[in-house]
């Protein structure tokens, strides 16, 4: 995780006076899964389109693998949010053509496409037309189309949209496998539980500006609600530093004030309270996301 796979510096992009991306800077390191998050209209798609050289930046600089965006196209796989495939073509032909456009020789593209179709359980459909596939199958096909040319960096915009739980799981597994193979993944998604499960670091943007940026666990710790979760068969009396006690499904959530989880645990041990589960509570990413974005809206 040393080299910067993607570097965005002070990126600005405006449309007709509206600033979609406003002085945005971030890096994506080699081999990580990077979450690019934000509410609708935050500037995610504009940012990825600039990285893909579909848009030119008004200000700032974008570098992919140390190269300007136009020169690195063949090393990037892109699954756009606004997506579709040639509906009247055969599945295999679509994959081969799109890989050829990325500079992969036809015979190589064919082999890889067949191997990938196998991997996503679509091998039987290789000779069928795209429009004969179900929505979920098309979604998987789109995913495959973004990586037949064997890119080093994969940008996935809402890859889980429209997938059933079984296929969500399949895709999750594939993304992890790709990471294990040394690929770098930029993932944009609205399903925060999936982002939490997959991403190493995240960038949360709103109104085209950075709101949160850094390693996921660090961010979660920073936004921890200052509480612990405790499961015990014993009844609890008042504890020093605990302002609130809430019981749900046999688990207590203790809100702390003026004490640390460590001190509380010590107190419990001293009082001989049998502890089955004790953990520092963290907020789900979803809550962090909502609270941060709402705060932004209120401040604005």
């Amino acid at each position: 995780m040393t080299q910067n796979m993607l570097e965005v510096r002070n990126l600005v992009k405006r449309y007709n006076g509206f600033t979609a991306v406003d002085d945005l800077s971030f890096e994506v390191c080699e081999g990580e899964i990077f979450g690019l998050l934000g509410p609708n209209g935050a500037g995610k798609t504009t940012t990825t389109r600039t990285v893909m050289d579909i848009f030119k930046p008004d200000e700032g600089r974008v570098q992919v693998l140390g190269l300007p965006p136009g020169a690195a196209k063949e090393h990037i796989g892109y699954l756009p949010e606004e997506r579709g495939l040639y509906r009247d073509l055969k599945v295999l032909d679509v994959l081969v053509y799109l890989a050829e456009l990325k500079g992969t020789p036809r015979s190589v593209a064919r082999q890889r496409a067949l191997a990938w179709l196998e991997r996503v359980e679509l091998a039987d459909w290789a000779g069928r037309k795209v429009k004969d596939l179900s929505r979920g199958m098309q979604q998987k096909l789109q995913f495959v189309a973004s990586l037949v040319h064997d890119p080093q960096l994969l940008i996935l915009d809402e890859p889980f949209q429209g997938l059933d739980p079984v296929n969500v799981d399949l895709l999750k597994r594939l993304i992890r496998e790709l990471q294990a193979e040394g690929k770098t993944v930029v993932l944009s998604a609205h399903q925060m539980n999936l982002v939490e499960a997959l991403c190493d670091r995240i960038l949360l943007i709103n109104h085209g500006q950075v709101v949160l940026y850094g390693p996921l666990d660090e961010i979660k710790r920073r936004y921890a609600p200052h509480a612990v979760r405790l499961r015990t068969p014993a009844a609890l009396n008042a504890l020093p530093g605990v302002t609130r006690m809430e019981r749900r499904d046999g688990t207590l959530t203790l809100t702390l004030d003026g004490t640390t989880p460590q001190a509380l645990l010590q107190t419990l041990v001293e009082r001989n309270v049998p502890v089955e589960v004790f953990e520092v509570a963290t907020a789900p990413l979803e809550e962090i996301f909502i609270s941060v974005v709402k705060k932004e809206e209120n401040d604005a």
Binding site: N16, M52, P80, E82, R83, D88
Partner: protein
Amino acid sequence: MRKIWTIARHEYLVNVRRPGFIIMTALVPLLGVLGLLVASFFGGQASAFFERQFAPEPKQIGVVDHLGAFTPILPAYQERYHLFANEEAGRAALEADEIITLLVIPQTYVESGQVMVVSKGSSLDAAMMGDSTSVRAFFVDHLLQDKVDPALHKRLVNPIEPVLVSLEGEGEPGGGPLSTALNFIVPYFLGLLLVMSILVSSGYLLRGVAEEKTSRVIEIVLSSVTAWELLAGKVLGLGALGLTQVLVWLASAFGLSGGAVSLLGVAAPLLARPEVFILGLVYYLLGFLVYAVLMGAVGALGTTMQESQQLAGIFSGMAAIPLILNGFIISNPNLPLLRVLSWFPLTAPTVMMLRLPMAEVPVVDIVGSIVMLILAIPAVLWAGSKVFRMGLLMYGKRPGLGQVMQALRGA
């Protein structure tokens, strides 16, 4: 370059297999065959008409000579003209279909020039009598017989033997009126071909672009290749497709109308003035490129097929302007208006293709128009790919003129 080739190949192969393309391509030859079948069905009547019009076999004409200058009929005319003693006998022969027309020449003919023409049914034959050169010769030969010098006599029958010399054209090579006509027809046909293939392939370009835009596949494609490469690849691939279709149509038309005629049509002017033919091809190719790029860019602007087609109509109309001005081109190929149009890249190909065979076009016009076209192609490609790129990513709303201008300036 390789990506452009990949796109061109893909566009060609995908579209050439489309049922719509195959049906459209097969339709014209099929209609031709159908036309032939219909013609042969009604052939009896039609061929009788054509035979009467063009058959070398002369029609028999009756003559009632009250003047006396036509009795006896000269040996050269005896096969075709028959004397009748009086009008009644002549009318009877006409009634019996022995003759097709009866000429009654009165005593006052020399003073009045009036001749009564009696015919059955149609008055067409009577009307044509006065203009017919053979009838004219019949009268002159009989009236002047042995009265004037033979050479003068010959001139009176055929006063003008035209020798064509153009003021600008030096020593027009021989080949007669046929060669001149073909010299005009073939490039005119090429001009027509250009307009046709512009319309055909721009239709495919529009459709292809609109399809990629509505199916959203465009964003994936644009993340792999530049808009420039995409546009160039499409222009080449779909251009080849349009050309294929037009060639199939032409081949079938030639095949149906007899290969010999078409071969002659292409070969004769090629031999007479090869430079006209070669320049015609140059204009065809350059013109095609300019228009195809324009059509691709315009296709990307519309949000629906209809919208794109309306926008494209403006440009395909320009290609057809010279065909509308054809009358001027024939009467004066070097009219100032035509010279101006020759320098304007959008009208240059067709105007020049029509001007070239008609006269010696000033070299400055040829060089100028070709240079303008060569300069225009990269300019149109550059501007076109910018507009193309902007248009492609705008869904649901057609970009206004302001946005188009903004796209051209930068972004």
